[in-house]
């Protein structure tokens, strides 16, 4: 297990360096002077000089990268071209909204996928299995932003049950947060739920036909015990990975949904920063989400290796 951990951490360190290289390269790809472009018609020579010096763009490329890497390691992601505020503070202010939406979406995905996936596998080939497979196919294919608009159209505009947009922190007013997170969470969670349904279905199917299930039955164990202790327990182990990957994906995948629901998270910040050509904020958000993505995957791998020791041994 220790060797597995060390290997996994080493691999992650290499990928992290690659991630910083890609994020650093983003600003270098801007055609022209990024600071000048960001200032647009609000050009002021003094502000321009200050921002350019603060961004380090006047230094040699290699020096810029190592400076960027060093600063990033200490939590300094530069300053916003638009407001002059530290990027790290801007990101931290938006992170709770995105995290709360991602977790709520994962709960929705779990509520959809576990019953549907298990039911579908246990009734393979029957009408209800076909219905579940059709639903999951629809869930994967529906554009999330369209689904968001349709949900607003039905539940806000037509029925008036839920607010169409806006955000209230869960610490401020949990009920109001719930009312406002419901539609975006259903929007984001449906696609993830559809993907997870497919994984759970195939995992349960595989477990149903496995040797250990046959052995458990041949011992004369009641079907209920075989199902709960031997089939579902084993079948749901790989779902840890899928759930983790989905959570990591949700963090970065909510950009468009945050725009639809005016949800003030990282996605909305990226969208606003793109319009304002605020490159340090875009870089910072991309880096933060990629790092979170890697850490979630690392935790998932460790949990998975703990649950299934064969992974660490292999």
């Amino acid at each position: 297990m220790t060797l597995f951990l060390l290997k996994r951490l080493g691999h992650m360190a290499i990928v992290l360096i690659g991630v910083t290289l890609v994020v650093f390269a983003l600003i270098q790809l801007v055609p022209g002077d990024p600071v000048r472009l960001a200032m647009g018609t609000r050009f002021d020579p003094d502000v321009y000089a200050a921002l350019r010096a603060a961004s380090g763009l006047d230094r040699p490329l290699v020096e810029q990268y190592f400076s960027y890497l060093g600063n990033a390691l200490t939590g300094n992601l530069g300053v916003s071209f638009r407001s002059g505020d530290p990027v790290t503070l801007l990101l931290l202010a938006r992170l709770p909204a995105t995290l709360s939406l991602a977790i709520a979406s994962l709960v929705v995905a779990g509520l959809i996928s576990f019953p549907l996936g298990i039911h579908s596998a246990l009734n393979r080939g029957k009408f209800s299995d076909v219905v579940v497979r059709v639903i999951s196919q629809f869930g994967v294919s529906v554009p999330d932003f369209w689904m968001g608009i349709i949900l607003i159209l039905v539940f806000s505009t037509t029925l008036g049950w839920l607010p169409p947009s806006g955000y209230v922190a869960i610490t401020e007013n949990p009920w109001e947060w719930f009312r406002r997170v419901l539609l975006p969470a259903i929007t984001v969670g449906t696609a993830s739920g559809a993907i997870m349904t497919r994984y759970i279905r195939s995992s349960v199917l595989e477990s149903l036909g496995s040797d250990h299930a046959r052995t458990a039955r041949s011992k004369g164990l009641p079907e209920r015990i075989v199902m709960s202790r031997h089939i579902l327990r084993n079948a749901l182990v790989p779902v840890i990975t899928v759930g983790g990957v989905q959570l990591a994906g949700l963090l970065g995948g909510v950009v468009v949904v945050e725009v639809v629901f005016a949800w003030p998270g990282l996605g909305r910040l990226v969208y606003d920063s793109v319009a304002a050509r605020d490159y340090p904020v875009i870089q910072g958000a991309v880096l933060l989400i990629a790092v979170l993505f890697l850490f979630i995957n690392l935790i998932v791998d460790i949990v998975y290796a703990k649950v299934d020791p064969r992974i660490a041994l292999s």
Binding site: V19, L26, V142, P143, F145, I150, G253, V255, Q283
Partner: protein, 299 residues
């Protein structure tokens, strides 16, 4: 015996030609596949003959007809400027297909080439390619695409580049995984012992034998590329106004949810049904091309 004969003999032994024909037959026997072909054929027709099919041009405005509900005069209604929604939905098929086909083409060519080289040569080529792939996988697809478009500037070309770049790693990974098993096959060793060049072995012997998962991935990637293009256009980063696009139509419709449900329903339905068709075809292809299924068929 030439390398070509080795391939022909291998094909004869494994029965790959009849298998492909059987796969195609199995594919066309499914009503779902026919439904998908009809949908995709219609989208293709709209993309090629959109100007002829659409009753009006995409930007023909008539404010007196604004927010006309769907009816005989305007099948899908009109928008806030009195533009015909049906015409705009039809004319949006061309840029959508242009972006998805070109971007998936880029991802396919670059990703498959990298996967073939990494899987065939192993060693440092494999290490470098796979580490780059790992790094690319660390970024959520949509976020990276948005970041690329943000730095290069919004537009059709940059959307193509962005979507092409973000879907390249998956092709590299899928191809490499298949190449790793194929490179140990006796017919590859036979071709090597006959002195065939590496490029010939890779493109004539390895590539055809790893094509099944690549075909499946291509179909699924078309679905994702259409969703990505629509999302980028929705955010104002893809197709630029006044050119119509399904994503941009949805963004505009968001401001008029009270005035006309049709403004958001029809463009979204167009994206949904096209993506659904590509996903279903991808699944059907996987079913008929999956090695497990093929083994069962052979047995």
């Amino acid at each position: 015996m030439s390398a070509a004969q080795v391939t022909a003999d291998t094909a004869a032994v494994t029965g790959s030609a009849p298998l492909w024909r059987r796969s195609l037959k199995a594919l066309l026997a499914s009503p779902v596949v026919w439904f998908c072909l009809v949908v995709l054929g219609t989208v293709l027709l709209c993309a090629v003959f959109g100007e002829q099919i659409a009753p009006q041009s995409a930007n023909e405005t008539d404010v007196s007809r604004a927010f006309t509900p769907p009816g005989p005069d305007a099948w899908m209604g009109t928008d806030d400027l009195g533009r015909d929604v049906f015409s705009r939905v039809v004319l949006s098929a061309a840029p959508t297909l242009q972006v998805s086909v070109t971007s998936v083409g880029i991802a396919l060519v670059v990703g498959v080439t990298l996967g073939l080289l990494a899987g065939y040569y192993r060693g440092w080529v494999d290490v470098v390619v796979m580490r780059v792939v790992d790094v690319m996988f660390a970024f959520p697809v949509m976020l990276l695409a948005i970041a690329i478009v943000a730095v290069l500037g919004a537009g059709l070309t940059t959307a193509i580049i962005a979507i092409g770049v973000v879907y390249t790693p998956i092709f590299a990974r899928v191809t490499r995984a298949s190449v790793l098993s194929v490179r140990e096959e006796p017919f590859i060793k036979a071709a090597k012992s006959l002195g065939a060049r590496d490029s010939r072995i890779i493109f004539t012997h390895v590539l055809p034998n790893v094509s099944a998962p690549i075909i499946v991935q291509t179909s699924l990637s078309f679905a994702f590329a259409i969703l990505s293009e629509a999302a980028l256009s929705f955010l104002g980063l893809g197709v630029q106004p006044p050119d119509p696009s399904w994503g941009r139509m949805l963004f505009d419709a968001k401001s008029f949810l009270n005035q006309g449900w049709w403004l958001s329903v029809f463009p979204g339905a167009a994206i949904f049904i096209t993506v659904l068709a590509f996903n279903l075809i991808g699944d059907a292809l996987r079913d008929v091309l999956d090695p497990k299924t093929m083994t069962k068929e052979r047995a």
